[in-house]
């Protein structure tokens, strides 16, 4: 159903206006100094279109750092429980790179594999993704190693690829994309036959994630594979918190006098307390075990159980790591390690 159109940069403004008029909020990358992050915008001139990567991922749009699962109140001697209405305004995520667009498939796999997760699903259902192909990458990008690419359309409802300085090639990929296209109407001009490949960044593949995933179980007890790498890991949660696919959360009740809310908040398997049992026992006592868990989960367990890779090669974890734990580099090493 893919349709190819052309979108002039000048038409972004009217497009934004039509999206807003349709009752959709727009989240897009915004630059503050050397930092780019997703924020709510109303005008295209607020949007950074030339960024390599945002600090934190776009997953907040469907899986925010904290969100209520239920509310409770003591009514006299009784407890009243209510599910809060989902905070799921129709949203357009504009200008995310293909890696981030691909991450939603992983999140969906996790949040919907058994019981429907209302807070997630309601947000996801109201989310349209207008992706933006990458014309530049950096040393941390490795999407091509995990089955993606700088112009990969998977996950986007519409994928934009810059054509020259003035236009985008717009690939309308899904029904949600069509809906936006209908809103855009004449703003989307007919395709003139330009290919998008010339515009794309070159990201050479470094390893094959599928092959790595198949090999990893055999490396589980490999003496050197994990310890050496994890020795410098500080066990902070930065990698998981910036990761577009990390979906672990902690459930906590926060209360005031006689009412409260049950929240889920981001958590990380890299933190020492993550697996701590009430008994005091901790099945993962060493950082190397926690690092291994993270790698195994992304490249072996999730493909095996959910059929999706847990990594989209965005490189955020490596950029954020205070001690330069380069995931791609380690994955490459593991791929090269003899079983």
């Amino acid at each position: 159903m893919t349709e190819q159109r052309i979108l002039s940069r000048q038409n972004l403004g009217p497009l934004f206006e039509r999206l807003a008029a349709d009752g959709r909020r727009i989240l897009a990358p915004v630059r503050h100094g050397d930092r780019v992050g997703f924020e709510r915008v109303t005008r295209p001139d607020e949007v950074a279109l030339d960024y390599v990567q945002t600090r934190t991922s776009a997953k907040s749009a469907v899986f925010p750092p904290y969100e209520p699962l239920l509310q409770f109140a003591l009514q006299g001697k009784d407890v009243q429980v209510a599910e809060p209405a989902p905070d799921a305004a129709p949203t357009v995520l504009f200008g995310v790179h293909p890696c981030d667009a691909a991450s939603f498939a992983t999140l969906e796999a996790v949040f919907t594999w058994d019981t429907p997760d209302l807070p997630f699903e309601s947000k996801r259902a109201n989310l349209t993704i207008i992706g933006l192909s990458c014309t530049q990458g950096d040393a941390y990008c490795f999407c091509t190693s995990v089955g993606g690419g700088p112009g990969d359309p998977r996950g986007s409802d519409i994928l934009l690829t810059p054509i020259g300085a003035t236009h985008f090639l717009a690939e309308i990929l899904t029904e949600r994309g069509q809906a936006v296209a209908r809103l855009a109407g004449e703003l989307l001009e007919p395709h003139r036959g330009n290919g998008k490949d010339a515009a794309l960044a070159q990201i050479p593949p470094r390893f094959d994630a599928r092959q790595l995933g198949a090999k990893l179980p055999a490396l589980f007890n490999h003496p050197a594979a994990w310890q050496e790498q994890a020795l410098r890991c500080l066990g902070c949660g930065a990698c998981a918190f910036v990761c577009p696919t990390c979906s672990c959360f902690d459930i906590t009740d926060e209360r005031d006098r006689y009412h409260g809310v049950r929240l889920r908040c981001w958590d990380s398997c890299g933190l020492a307390l993550f697996t701590l049992h009430a008994s005091g026992h901790n099945p993962r006592t060493k950082q190397s075990e926690r690092w291994r868990q993270r790698v195994m989960h992304k490249f072996a367990y999730q493909p095996e159980r959910l059929g999706v890779l847990g990594c989209v090669g965005c490189g955020r974890c490596s950029r954020a790591c205070p001690v330069d734990m380069n995931l791609a580099q380690h994955a490459q090493q593991l791929a090269e390690t003899a079983v």
């Binding site: 050397d34 930092r35 992050g37 600090r55 934190t56 750092p65 904290y66 040393a139 941390y140 310890q227 050496e228 994890a230 020795l231 410098r232 500080l234 066990g235 902070c236 949660g237 930065a238 998981a240 918190f241 910036v242 902690d250 906590t252 926060e254 929240l263 908040c265 981001w266 990380s268 933190l271 307390l273 006592t285 060493k286 950082q287 190397s288 490596s318 954020a320 205070p322 001690v323 330069d324 734990m325 380069n326 580099q329």
Partner: protein, 268 residues
């Protein structure tokens, strides 16, 4: 740099230490990564430049690192101060670590004891960098409302990943206050109150202890200048109470001592 490598090789060859904890080249030219050197050959990978910033004393509390045996630690001023402060807080036994202090000119001084560290660190210049000082003064000079808005904006980006805590050599609690839940002092969620309380608590818990290494804000994935909170408190503790943590193994925590005539003009 060669002097550092040579000293590392000697220490390893003599069996004085089982590992040298230093810095190696990072993913990109503007990064360095901590590394553990176990053999003389590996010492070739040691580097020293302005990107070698993460305070290596932080690693001393990790059980895996403890298991390595006696360590040599490549150190800058704040690393040495962290070692002394850890010793003052009963967290580091004398002789467990040989510090390899690298001066601005690349000269390496081997400091096998805490006494040697004390002696050297006493001779180093003190105080904040000019850039830190300017930023501190800039924020302090803002009108109250703007100051409040500035920090509310900064803290709003906090995602409670606790990288600041993990990177800090003096955040070594077995259970951080933010993980205590009876009572739940600090909201788990990264909501405005939770983020404000976390950042205030972190800074207060380092007041009179912080050694000004800046690893907290270096580690922050959102680039929040958390170190400024520490600097402000360090300055107040120094001017009010003469506190200079990390210059001695003596236990003289400013908040666990007092003078009868301490400042109190704000108390009526």
């Amino acid at each position: 740099m060669e002097a550092l490598r040579q000293r590392a090789r000697e220490l390893l060859a003599a069996g004085t230490v089982q590992a040298v904890l230093g810095y190696a080249a990072g993913s990109e030219p503007d990064r360095a990564r901590p590394c553990f050197v176990r053999t003389a050959a590996e010492a070739d990978g040691l580097i020293w430049n302005e990107h070698c910033r993460q305070n290596l004393a932080t690693y001393l509390q990790k059980p895996e690192v403890r298991a390595l045996g006696r360590l040599a630690l490549v150190a800058r001023r704040s690393t040495l101060r962290a070692l002394l402060q850890l010793a003052a807080e009963n967290q580091l036994a004398d002789g467990r670590v040989v510090a390899l202090f690298v001066a601005d000119d690349g000269a390496v001084t081997e400091l096998p004891t805490l006494a040697a560290i004390e002696e050297l660190v006493a001779r180093l210049p003190r105080g904040l960098s000019d850039a830190d000082r300017q930023e501190l003064d800039r924020i302090a000079a803002l009108p109250l409302g703007e100051r409040q808005a500035y920090w509310a904006g900064e803290f709003a980006r906090c995602i409670k990943c606790y990288a600041c805590r993990a990177a800090c050599p003096l955040c070594y609690c077995a259970r951080c206050i933010t993980e205590a839940n009876q009572p739940q002092w600090i909201p788990v969620s990264s909501d405005p109150l939770g983020n404000l309380e976390w950042n205030i608590a972190r800074a207060m818990h380092l007041a009179g202890r912080c050694v000004d290494c800046g690893s907290c804000s270096d580690a922050c994935p959102e680039g929040i200048r958390l170190d400024l909170l520490n600097h402000v408190l360090a300055e107040e503790a120094r001017t009010q109470f003469g506190a200079e943590p990390g210059y001695s193994v003596r236990k003289d925590y400013a908040l666990a001592s007092f003078k009868p005539d301490d400042k109190q003009e704000y108390i009526r």
